[in-house]
Symmetry: C6
Subunit: 74 residues, 6 copies
C-alpha cells in the first residue's frame, strides 16, 4: 500500500499527527486528505508528552509541514 493510500485508508478514523517544529501533537478524526497530504481533522485534541492540553475542534493542517501520520491507539 503506497503512503498516500495508507493515509486515505484512515479517513473516518482517529489519527495522530506530528507537525514540523511543534512540540505538541494532534489527535482527531480524519475527515479528508488530498494529494499533498493537506489534512482536514474534526474533534482535534492537542497533546504534549501524552497529556491532553486542549480541544481544538475542526482544523486544516498544511501537508508539507506534516512529519508523521498514524492510526491512533489509545
Amino acid at each position: 500500500m503506497l503512503p498516500n493510500q495508507m493515509v486515505r485508508s484512515l479517513i473516518g478514523k482517529v489519527i495522530r499527527v506530528e507537525m514540523k517544529g511543534e512540540e505538541n501533537e494532534l489527535v482527531g478524526k480524519l475527515e479528508s486528505v488530498d494529494d499533498y497530504m493537506n489534512i482536514h481533522i474534526s474533534n482535534a485534541v492537542e497533546y504534549r508528552n501524552g497529556e491532553k492540553i486542549r480541544n481544538l475542534g475542526t482544523l486544516v493542517l498544511r501537508g508539507n509541514n506534516v512529519i508523521l501520520i498514524q492510526p491512533y491507539e489509545e
Copy 2:
C-alpha cells in the same frame, strides 16, 4: 469536504492561523485563499498564549509556512 474546500468555506469569517517556527498566532478575517493556501487576512491580531500582542491589520501569509488553520471561536 476536502482540506482546500474547508479553508475556502471560511472566507469572510474570522480564522486562527499558526505559522511555522512562530510562537505567536494570528487571528483575523479571511479575505481570500489560493490553491497553495496563501492567505490574505484583514484586521489581523497577533496573540501569544491567549494574550493579545498587537494589531497587524492587513497581511498576506505564505501557504507553505502555514501549520494550522481553523475557525476562530472566542
Copy 3:
C-alpha cells in the same frame, strides 16, 4: 483580492516582511514580486523588536521562506 494580487498591489510601496527562522524583520520598497512570492526589495532596513539594526540596501528574498508580507505603516 487574491493573496498574490494583494502583494502585487504593494509594488512601489514600503512593505514589512517576516522571514522563516529569523528574529529580525525587513522593511523596504517592494520593487517586484513573482508567482512564488520571491521578492525584490530596495532600501531594505533590518529591524529587531521595532529597533533599527542596519541598512541592507537592495536584496532578493526567496518566496518559500517568507512568513508574512504587509504594507508598512510607520
Copy 4:
C-alpha cells in the same frame, strides 16, 4: 543507482530514518515509498541516542521532511 532507486531497493527491509527538526530517529520495515519519498513504515520504533524510546507501529512520513534514509544495521 539513483537516489530514488536506492530507497526503493530497501522495500521490505529495515531502514533508519532521520526527520527534520526531530531529535529522535525511526527504525522500521519499509513497506512502500513514492516519488516524493513519502514513506510507509511498519513496526516502527523510536530511538534517541541509540536508546529505544517506544514502539510506534505503522506510520506514514512526509517525504519533504525526511533528512536521511539508510539501511539499518543493528
Copy 5:
C-alpha cells in the same frame, strides 16, 4: 526587474547569502544560478557577525533554503 533577473544580474560579482537556519553567512563570487535559485559560488568565505570564520572555496547552495541574496559591499 523581477527577483530572478535581479539575482542573474549579479553573476560574476561578489554576493552575500543568508541560508535558512544558519547563523553564519556566505560571501563569494556568483558563478551561476538557476530558476530555483540554486546557487553556484566560488571563493566562498563564511562569516559570523561580520567576522571571517573560514574559506570554503567552491560550493553549491540549494535554492529553497536561501533566505536572502544581495550584492556584497565591503
Copy 6:
C-alpha cells in the same frame, strides 16, 4: 557551469554536505544525484566541528533539505 552540473561533476568524488537543522555534517562518496538534488552517498562519515563522530555507510539525503554541497578537501 550551472549548479546542478556542478554537483553532477562531483559524482565519484568525495563531497561534504550540510543538511538543514543539523549540527553535524556528512562526508562521503557521491554515488548519484537527481534533479531535486536528492543525493546517494556511500562510505558516509558524520563530523561535528571537524571531529569524526561515526561511520554511517550508505545513505540517501532528501534534496530539499540540503543546505550546501562541495568537494571535500582533507
